[in-house]
Each structure stands twice: as C-alpha cells, then as structure tokens.
Symmetry: C2
Subunit: 154 residues, 2 copies
C-alpha cells in the first residue's frame, strides 16, 4: 500500500509540472512526445557528427546513441498522440490530423522506425563506414513519418 501511494504521488508530481504551465489538456502529451523526439535528435546528432567526420568515431558512444534511438523508438505508440492533440488545436503541436485518420499507416511508420533503429544498432557498433551507411535507412524512417504526419515549420 505504501508503494502504491508513493507511485501515485510520483505520477501526480511529474504530471503537474507540465500541467501547471497552461490549461491545455494536451500539454503533457505534447511535452512527452517533444521530449522523446529531442532525445532522439540528441542521439542522432552524436552519430551524425561521427558520420560527417566532425567528431571521431567512438564505438561506445555510437553504440549507446544507437541503443537510445532504439529505446525511444520502442516506446512510441498512440499514447503520445491522444486524439485532439493536433497542430493548431493544441499549443506547440506539429502533429497533423492524418495521424488519426490514417492511424494504421502511422503505426506502420513507427514499426518501420523500430526496424531501422534495430539495424542501426549493429551498424553503429561496427565501424564508421557501417555507421555512415546505416544512417540512410534510419533517416529515411524519420523523414517518411515527418513528411506524412508532421506540420512543416514556417
């Protein structure tokens, strides 16, 4: 029972931080998905720098970044995209309505990202040439989903 109360308090305290900021019912969902995408961008930035020769290839760093990308991909689902949290209906949202009208395809895009991220884990841990070669499929999975389901920024 003690642990139940503790968990409930933890969940409430984390959620209320975002909620207090504004009365947008989707503020938490939008911050959640932005946080996940920012984590992915951080890790993509690390392996991208190695691929471009701006940073030396470091197997441990590359493998960890690739593992992080796969971990974040693995949690993506409709949970981060509650109906109604689309562009212009929710603050800071760039999610296009097609996410919900073409939900099956959206979930296929998420599955494709998971496949690409799994392959990239092997590539990133091999050497810099494999890492470079592996980034195409990974970047392709990112942009396939963004192109169909993310409002371009102005």
């Amino acid at each position: 029972m003690k642990s139940m109360l503790m968990i409930a308090a933890l969940v409430a305290s984390v959620s209320s931080v975002a909620r207090a900021e504004e009365e947008d019912p989707f503020a938490d969902a939008v911050e959640m998905r932005h946080g996940l995408m920012l984590q992915m961008a951080t890790d993509l930035g690390k392996v991208g720098a190695m691929a471009k020769g701006e940073a030396p290839y470091d197997q441990a760093v590359a493998a960890r970044a690739a593992a992080n990308i796969a971990a974040i991909a693995s949690v993506l689902s409709m949970d981060q995209f509650p109906a109604g949290s689309e562009y212009q209906a929710s603050a800071d949202s760039y999610a296009l309505p097609a996410i919900w009208t073409a939900q099956d395809d959206f979930l296929v895009k998420i599955a494709d990202l998971n496949t690409a991220a799994a392959g990239f884990q092997t590539a990133a841990a091999t050497d810099v040439d494999a890492l470079k070669a592996g980034m195409g499929a990974l970047g392709g999975a990112c942009s396939a989903c963004h192109k169909a389901y993310r409002q371009p920024e102005e």
Copy 2:
C-alpha cells in the same frame, strides 16, 4: 551525403521547436527530461492502476508499460542534465544542484533505477500479485532519486 543533410535537417527542426519558445539555453534539455519523465509517469500510471485494482490486470499492457519504463530508464544519463540547468537557473527546472556536486551518486541512482526496472519487467509480465509486489522496488528507485535530486513542488 544526402542522408547526412537529411539527418542534420531533422535534428535542427526538432530542436528548434523548443528553442523558438524561449531563449533559455537549457529549454531543450529541460523539455527532454520532462518528456522522458512524463512517459515514465504514463506507464507507471497504467501498472499502478492495475496494482490498485482500478484497472483489470492485462499482461500485454503491463509488459509493454514495464518495457517502456526500462527503455526510458536506459537512456537517462548526464545528457539530460547539462551543468547549469538547475532549479531557478533554468525555466521549469526542478533539478537540484546536488546532481552535479554529487554526480557519481546521481549516476548510481540511475543505475539502481535500471536494475529495478529490469526486475519489474519480469514481475509485471507474471501476474497481478507479482506486479504489486514488484512496484515497491521500482517506486523506491524513483523516490530515492527524486528525494535527493529533485526540488519538491510548492
């Protein structure tokens, strides 16, 4: 080369969403860690509801939530906590300065969370009694870190 440019554009576009909101240099890091914690709270909420009998035990849902918790735990590192992004120095930050002055212990707390999350994956996939029993260690790892390193909300 094409994929390099694509990755660079993706990284820039994701990051700029948060950055455009305010000129806080830690806005991205804070949104990143809040997003990760919100994801963890969402999954803890699902298994917590099952543990409290507010939702029926569903093995697939519980296993997925536990896998998500482990995935999020696995990406935690100092990457989400750049020096300077502490409470009152960065907007919306609840991170206490002890994170950086006692960094070794902070990283031990993250490792402890990963251990607890791994154990919880087995428990959550077993049955509701194992799930309930397993929440203590998981909640304990959450609060040990929050107690030492997170500013309580007013």
